[in-house]
Symmetry: C2
Subunit: 286 residues, 2 copies
């Protein structure tokens, strides 16, 4: 038996098509706009930004990249963000990660106004995610939830194990699944008997950033496996899961590439459109 592949590329294309129609139908005097801040010239960042720009273009979102030298002073970056917060022609702001070591990620994410928080990394956004009181979610967790929903995979009362406790995937995803009445276990590097803890799950989500971490010992035949890993091994892009072997055992699985990755971008640009709509709504109701 082989697992059913949950095709994130296909689902993201469907979402983008819907988004394109919504944007065309609800366009005001200008298109939605995303501003991406890039510090330095990280090759992986270049690639991710290119993908974001292409996706924006394909659905009718204006996007621009402001590039800064790797040595930019924090207060210069701060000034730029505060000015973008006030710019009525910008709906979403995103600072491409990773940042150079002299710039504190939390400080930067806190500067971005919550009404322009495209990535969903602002503390207020994350608090509202925990409270289940928002339309804006960090893109990767939101993409994962949409992948599960696309196959009608039950969450209520299900056992979900998440490997990885990052601020942008593990923790917000945990709160989103808790809000959907799943029984959620969050593992980290110190977890004892990781394989055993994982094997208990109905849904296993690995966001550890460690290739071939999830082997046959971690899974069973009724399991759904979501692979959030984005690793490069000998120049080859792969996830956390030993796909070849695990996909022969489990019920559902996402591939890398073509699983969570494209969903992350689809959810990011959906955030930009939601921020745009909120902006227009607010300005029309005043």
């Amino acid at each position: 038996m082989s697992a059913k592949i949950i095709d994130g590329k296909l689902l993201s294309q469907k979402l983008n098509s819907h988004l394109k129609i919504s944007i065309a139908q609800n366009k005001g005097v200008r298109a939605p706009k995303l501003t991406i801040l890039q510090i330095g010239n990280n090759p992986a960042s270049n690639k991710y930004i290119k993908n974001k720009l292409n996706s924006c273009k394909s659905v009718g979102i204006d996007a621009e990249v402001l590039k800064f030298d790797n040595n930019i002073k924090v207060n210069e970056l701060e000034k730029t963000i505060l000015s973008l917060n006030k710019d009525k022609n910008v709906d979403g702001i995103l600072v491409q990660l990773p940042l150079p070591s002299h710039i504190d990620e939390k400080f930067i994410n806190n500067l971005i106004d919550v009404t322009k928080d495209a990535d969903g990394f602002n503390p207020q956004t994350l608090g509202n995610v925990l409270l289940d009181n928002t339309q804006i979610y960090p893109a990767t967790p939101n993409g994962i939830v949409k992948l599960l929903e696309s196959e009608n995979i039950n969450l209520v009362g299900s056992n979900v194990t998440i490997v990885g406790r990052s601020n942008i995937v593990g923790k917000p995803l945990a709160t989103m699944l808790i809000n959907r009445e799943a029984t959620v276990t969050i593992c980290n590097k110190k977890t004892k008997n990781l394989a055993k803890v994982c094997k208990r799950a109905d849904i296993l989500i690995s966001a550890a950033g460690s290739s071939k971490l999830i082997t046959r010992k971690f899974v069973h035949k009724n399991m759904t496996v979501i692979d959030v890993g984005a690793n490069f091994v000998n120049g080859i892009y792969c996830g956390d899961v030993d796909f070849e072997k695990v996909s022969k055992i489990v019920k559902y699985i996402t591939p890398v590439p073509g699983g969570v990755g494209p969903m992350t971008i689809a959810c990011l640009i959906e955030n930009v459109y939601k921020l745009y709509k909120n902006y227009y709504h607010k300005n029309n109701s005043k």
Copy 2:
């Protein structure tokens, strides 16, 4: 064998003594001040508020209660909170729960300025708790962490099971323990085989609000049991744990009353002092 009782009353008294000294030593032109808003006349709320006022008084925090009729309009309450947000003589604001049904709790908690958020229920505070980037925590989860720390109970790599997924206990507590590298499982009413899931834990925390939910079947001899329940059964105040039987089996246990309850108030008034200190720090550095 009988469990060691973790005495929340004693620990809260110690914390209050330290706080009293800190306040006396760091007092500016005025004492720290907490304003409590009470809507209606709920008898349990009256009791909780009285305890909060007494604790404030004992450590040198000024506290006042603003009482409102049960039928108060939301915009009146809003006006009061916005005015308190600007009041330079108020450091902490707290709206006593529960609220009458016509008032949305999330809306109200969102109104309280994050710099005056005594309860730690504001979304920005909760997001910062998730990000491990704050000094202010919701009082009950913070009290639980302090109870565990007081007995040097290991969290790193430990299996913690939390029963209950509320916005004020379960979810923020989960993020705090995840940040301490525990492997955390959050259960809810839909969890399958609850007893079995609980029995796997090194530390079991019940915040379900259901008396005698946690029985002998849920525990083992090396377990620490933290009882967050605050239930009234036939007029008797009790927790979620069948204390008589469970305390004969496990290693550590908190009683009700005298466990988490007094720690919650101690952590609340500590928040007020921290908000006061931040306020003074800000105003001296400007």
